[in-house]
């Protein structure tokens, strides 16, 4: 029952993600308007055949901007999270492999310190000190977000290391690096993937919130969070300006959450790892 529901959720999430991702990544090749082209005559136009999601205060086509904005959002979040994941897995695996060594101890203390900084607070401090830009936000993501992956990888590697096959490998004189790569890390891929899927959803929401506060992506390149911040002023008279980016954020995060749920039910049905 569990696994069947898991499959449904997984398939649903995948299909939704594909439906969203195809137009977003194909946007430059679709014959759409220029996302930057202004038209003072068509400001805040309501949805029509010409502009399916209407236009913004500069008369720019909102569908085009939402799709182009999606590229920025998805690519930057994916890249930042990917970097955090790579760093986290590497450090976590090493710490798990050499459990109790000075490296492990120092790493765990560094993690403790980083855990004391909530992401929003850290991102705000970075934005205030070094300037508001999407790049600085993503930097903050990489600096803080690897911690979760490191902790998960470390605990899985540690668990697996205790199993007999690894001990046997040690006895046979196989190099620790080889054991790590061949035996230990593959065990972590599943749970880390599940975690990454959920975290990507969280990250998109967090970046949107920071952009909404004006601390993220800067004009004129479209990005979902800053499009929402721009549209907020026209929310009451022309609510459609929020429709595109809001809907895309919700659907994208929903897709990732569904995929995460589905994957978890498959890979880790007993929620052993408390992802």
């Amino acid at each position: 029952m569990n696994s069947r529901r898991g499959s449904h959720t997984l398939v649903f999430g995948m299909v939704m993600l594909v439906l969203l991702a195809v137009p977003i990544f194909a946007a430059p090749w679709l014959s759409l308007d220029d996302p930057l082209a202004m038209n003072a005559g068509a400001r805040l136009a309501r949805p029509s055949l010409e502009h399916p999601l209407g236009t913004d205060r500069f008369g720019r086509d909102l569908l085009t901007r939402t799709l182009h904005g999606g590229r920025t959002t998805l690519l930057s979040c994916g890249l930042a999270l990917g970097s955090a994941l790579a760093v986290g897995m590497l450090l976590g695996a090493l710490a798990g492999m050499f459990h109790g060594s000075w490296f492990d101890i120092v790493l765990m203390r560094i993690i403790d310190v980083l855990l004391a900084f909530p992401f929003m607070v850290f991102a705000m401090v970075i934005a205030a000190l070094f300037g508001t830009s999407l790049f600085h936000l993503l930097l903050a993501v990489v600096i803080l977000w690897w911690v979760n992956f490191a902790r998960l990888t470390r605990s899985i590697v540690l668990n697996t290391r205790k199993s007999t096959s690894v001990d046997a490998a040690f006895v046979l004189g196989i190099s620790p690096l080889r054991i790590l790569l061949k035996e230990l890390l593959p065990q972590a891929f599943g749970p880390v993937l599940v975690l990454a899927t959920f975290e990507l959803g969280h990250l998109i929401l967090a970046i949107a919130a920071l952009s909404f506060l004006g601390l993220g992506s800067q004009p004129p390149s479209p990005e979902w969070g800053s499009m929402l911040a721009d549209g907020r002023a026209h929310f009451m008279t022309t609510p459609h300006v929020l429709l595109g980016p809001a809907l895309f954020i919700v659907l994208t995060v929903l897709a990732f959450n569904c995929i995460g749920e589905g994957l978890r039910d498959r890979i880790d049905p007993y929620e052993k790892h408390r992802i």
């Binding site: 004391a116 929003m120 705000m124 070094f130 902790r151 506060l213 907020r232 959450n257």
Partner: protein, 320 residues
Amino acid sequence: MGRRLLLTFLQTLMTVFAASIVLFALIRLAPGDPAKLLIGRTMEIALDERTYAKMLGEMRTEMGLTGSWFSQYLSWAGSLLRMDLGTSFYTQRAVAAEIGERLPATFLLAGTALLIQVGIGLLIGMLSALHAGTLLDTLVRLGCVLLASVPGFVIGLLLLLALAVKLELYAIGSEAGLSRLWLPALTLGLLGAPQMIRVVRANLLSELGQVYVQSALSRGLGTRRVVGHAMRNVLLSTITLIGLSLTASISGAVVIESIFAWPGLGEYALNGILHKDYPALQGYALVTVLSVVGIHLTVEALYVWLDPRITRRKKEAAHE
């Protein structure tokens, strides 16, 4: 038990110390000269060069920007220990006093939101678990996934538009009064609810699957009493999440505070960013770090005190 707590406490102190170094270093790494920024902002018409240079020199001494990094850190850390967070560039008031004025509002909001979140979480989570597999359960699960996918500020804006502007049930203002509390608290509570529901549901389901519950049921004890008993254990297992939610509410309520003009810490920090007010931001970051660490420590202590068994289990799960 006491020794373990003491150890954790010492570790926490180390963490705070390291965090203060991180903050200090970040501010020194930032581009731009704080003394220049401070003077530049207030001058509408530039002075002649000599007056300016003199003013800059005075300002640097006043702000403790002279001497080596090490001595600057020592004097800064020393003033921190005396609860002196410096003077705001922008308002020229003590940052500690300004934060002190805003802390109650933030705690009030976070606490109320937490109550709402726990209330919703317990109620819906229990219903969902008791009716596991039914349509109700599926709907709850769907609702949770959906709610967790909507940005908080979108929910906040919609509620504000509907309740304050259309229905006029909510007065927009700047005071931290009880009449203005419910809407931001509700928004924050709703945002945290899905997580709470899931944890309660999952834990209650696993409790109900335990041998003692099954045997109690087979011995003919009433479902209500058995569930009640199981709920106590569930409540215990939500302490970690409650700690996390509190942290999130204190640090992450920036957007909600900004939308509802709630005069808490988040609003203070946003103004700090706007005005490049380094001491204000530094103070804000330090206070949040302290609350995060304090909440962690409290959660830890609660576990140790309430149930050493659980502590061991949690520890193993987290650190193995």
